[in-house]
Symmetry: C2
Subunit: 351 residues, 2 copies
Amino acid sequence: KKLKIASIPGDGIGKEVVPAAIDVLETISDLHGGLSFDFTEFPYSCDYYLEHGEMMPEDGLKRLSDFDSIFLGAVGDANLVPDHISLWGLLIKIRREFEQTINVRPAKQLPGIQSPLVNPNDFDLLVVRENSEGEYSSIGGRIYRDEDEIAIQNNVFSRKATERVMRFAFDLATKRQKRVTSATKSNGIVYSMPFWDEVFKDVSNDYPDVETDQQHIDALTAFFVTNPSRFDVLVASNLFGDILSDVGAGIMGSIGVAPAGNINVNGKYPSMFEPVHGSAPDIIGKGIANPIGQIWTAKMLLDHHGEEEIGQVLLDVIEETTSDRIVTADLGGKHTTKEVTDEIIKRLKAK
Amino acid sequence: KKLKIASIPGDGIGKEVVPAAIDVLETISDLHGGLSFDFTEFPYSCDYYLEHGEMMPEDGLKRLSDFDSIFLGAVGDANLVPDHISLWGLLIKIRREFEQTINVRPAKQLPGIQSPLVNPNDFDLLVVRENSEGEYSSIGGRIYRDEDEIAIQNNVFSRKATERVMRFAFDLATKRQKRVTSATKSNGIVYSMPFWDEVFKDVSNDYPDVETDQQHIDALTAFFVTNPSRFDVLVASNLFGDILSDVGAGIMGSIGVAPAGNINVNGKYPSMFEPVHGSAPDIIGKGIANPIGQIWTAKMLLDHHGEEEIGQVLLDVIEETTSDRIVTADLGGKHTTKEVTDEIIKRLKAK
Ligand SMILES: CC(C)[C@H](C(=O)O)[C@@H](O)C(=O)O
Ligand SMILES: CC(C)[C@H](C(=O)O)[C@@H](O)C(=O)O
């Protein structure tokens, strides 16, 4: 099996951690005769914008559409290009145009890593986020000037997208602990969220073996702090999933380890794998960026293409490495990006 | 000075902690000749709804409008009355009709209380939440049926309300550490949140002595876990303030200690003081509800009426009590509501 992967290192530390994770994937391909990768790098980024006046060329999406998956580092550096241009011109554009309607983000306590929580209690959860509509709609505007000005933004929730993300979450749950928690706020947001709750109820009827629960987003974020191990799979709107996955990264000890996948479920376009962290302009060029988020994201890419067995080996190796405290500064270690990556590669070879 | 207070114990443990906090306020009035209270209790609650078919009588608001402040316990018990009826018929109705456009919610590490964080580092922050519009608008609806159904909900942000909550936050910051952090999400929510950022910039120009910072809500909730002590005052929209204040309560160790004030700033109507916690139907009648949230809320009522000195004494006494571990089960103690309250009263008398 040969996978054609478009790599987009993007901005900042994306340029440091993507090559590291590609080294890991190449090692895996060397070790497993049956699997190989054909990487093509695309320079789309804020630097590209400064040179060309756009985040990617007009035929950029067309070029990317030929690949089996996209492997992305980080997009955005507000010192170079305003966020709304860099993100909506690349990251969110790809998510939308390639119908990557679902964003999957695991959060799991890693051995050897000090969680900021006193009792992390081996949490292991999965945030399944709607990735195409909801609070991130591009419908809205303003009226009046000065003290009378009003800005309106629409939240748009379709049954199609809502059902789709929920079914995806329930399907994942059947392979895990068989528990799905829905993030809502129907006590305060009285049109979109009661609708969300209704669809959740309907979908849950099709999964009698899965235990369900629904919590308001305010209480839910607090539970991530007080008792994260009570959760298995969570399903959330675009905004609520965004928030929950960052809190999930926070309780892991560093946003630098959190992986993510933007999944196209209709098979028409490639999916995109990108870690939760950003471009971290403050540590560019120091060689200390944490590569684990990107490498764990590579595991999600493997899983997505049916290589769950190798994916599991990779996660095991990541956990052995953190357990032995071969970690970067954000995790309280002194190792470089390269040292952590080399250690993971060495351990993969020893398996 | 005599303060006319309308007390609404409401539902569940509200009926246990409101009387406790009133005992504390009465003690304060006995000790300080210059201050007295005239309490009138109103039975508005889910029980009231079951008897009368409404959460409060038609002239309920009119009756409440005569008071200097409202002292509320908790509203809502989904086992008795659906949330959207109980909350929108009482809690949110009072917030809106009495133009309580700002919600103030402190989060502070209390001595003797185990935070769920390894390094709470003596955090002491204040969430200032817009309380009348934004994501909690009552504008929206649905179209189409079955698989084509779409729900739309408007977020409405006015310059008036946005500026008002921001000025309130900056004014509070000038009396504290002089730092204000704005909660935004302008990288994903592209109409309302860039507007929010613009107003924040405008208002901050009027406060050159206050340091400002702006963070996306996803990162911000994670920072509440990884480094809450970096914050002083935060200003947030209705939804973001709701989320941040619950995470704030979470890192304090129990939602049972978190206080709040719904502030009317134009002086036309009473303000309302209610703790962050809900009615906790699971522990009703056991006498173990934590009274600290309600008693700390009483301190906010005192502050609001210019009694900051007594308010500070009350907070000191609360902290001495937690420091000596005279606390309820939610904080890992064995004391009852009454024992904690009596201890606070005893210590007040000894001051
Ligand atoms: C009960 C609910 C509507 C309310 C809110 O979201 O405002 C509560 O969570 C709060 O924070 O007071
Ligand atoms: C950069 C931003 C628009 C994005 C989002 O909110 O989707 C990011 O926070 C994420 O979670 O991938």
